[in-house]
Symmetry: C2
Subunit: 187 residues, 2 copies
DNA sequence: GTCTATAATCCGATAGAC
DNA sequence: GTCTATCGGATTATAGAC
């Protein structure tokens, strides 16, 4: 593994655990096993490091969305895949909480990352609206309602469930909070 | 207004905007119009200041829960009041996001605040479970399901909706995300 | 590419005058 | 209760040797 990637891996965990302002480059360097100054060979600043981390995370999620759109023909199956992926990331400590953690630190971030955060959110919402529209047509989603309202409620639920599970360090809370959403999807 | 209260007001906004590690006592002092050292006359440390802020916030919410339990006899009306109060706090910039902001900075906080955060969460969940149980008995909640699952989903939805609305600085997103939850409550 | 050394700044906290 | 002044430490970032 390249040093650059290792730095990103270690720093990504730090962002999720403590937010942008909650970790120092010194800690990252110690965990990676290099000197603090070596980080600046790979990234010109702390902000740029975090921007690179979020871009990688964002691209991973976008790739998942694209693959799921191809793999799953029914809307309900797409939503179920979304819930499962979100749970997997939570268990691996790679959850959507990164975008939440960065959102809270907004004022201290550069415009560059803030734009990426907005694009990340919009892309997820659009994908979810499409999944709900599809699912209501193909009968795999059991409840009626406006797809836009459903998509916003779904994303809020997933984000909130991840936060609650994370702060209690207990994935079961994610399962409890999303149980009813799963029951509204036909198998 | 006493200086102590003004410090708390200004610092509370800073916590919500930037998290515990995202603001400095120097900024607070400047906004209040006093010297940084004067803060230490009222609070022995930054941690103690934030602990006092969260205790005040927590007590305000607990008072709201108690009053609503007395005022609203039907479960659905209690949930509707919860959604409205949550929206009001969001508009005033006093939202539940404070507990979320602090949750993310967990590693940098003292055990004192972490316990308060856990109590805050448990109290809200217990109150919501009771409201759902009541609402399913009195017919004011339209959907069936396990009250504990419903309470967790409801809190996750509200938290997530607040986060989304806050990061876009648009209360309408809170309304969109909670619209379906409101439609499941009988008027 | 990684190191040592250090600059420049910011931060939480204290001491002591008024 | 609020001020000025300052300490001690941490943090981002740079300079230059290897």
């Amino acid at each position: 593994m390249s040093t650059r990637v290792t730095i990103m891996d270690v720093a990504a965990e730090a962002v999720r655990n403590s937010g942008y302002n909650g970790f120092s480059l010194d800690q990252i360097a110690r965990d990676v096993g290099i000197q603090k100054s070596s980080i600046f060979y790979h990234f010109s600043s702390k902000t740029e490091l975090v921007a690179a981390i979020f871009r990688r995370y964002s691209n991973d999620i976008f790739a998942f969305l694209d693959q799921t759109t191809i793999k799953e023909a029914r809307g309900g199956d797409r939503l179920m895949a979304y819930l499962l992926e979100s749970r997997k990331l939570l268990e691996e400590g790679k959850s959507i909480c990164m975008s939440i953690a960065l959102n809270i630190d907004q004022e201290n971030l550069h415009a560059e990352i803030i734009d990426d955060l907005a694009v990340f959110h919009e892309t997820n919402i659009k994908w979810l609206i499409e999944a709900f529209e599809l699912g209501m047509r193909d009968g795999s989603i059991l409840e009626e309602g406006d797809p836009e309202e459903k998509a916003h409620a779904f994303l809020a639920l997933v984000d909130g469930a991840q936060l609650m599970a994370r702060s209690h360090k207990n994935v079961a809370i994610y399962d409890t909070a999303t149980a009813l959403a799963r029951s509204r999807i036909s198998l």
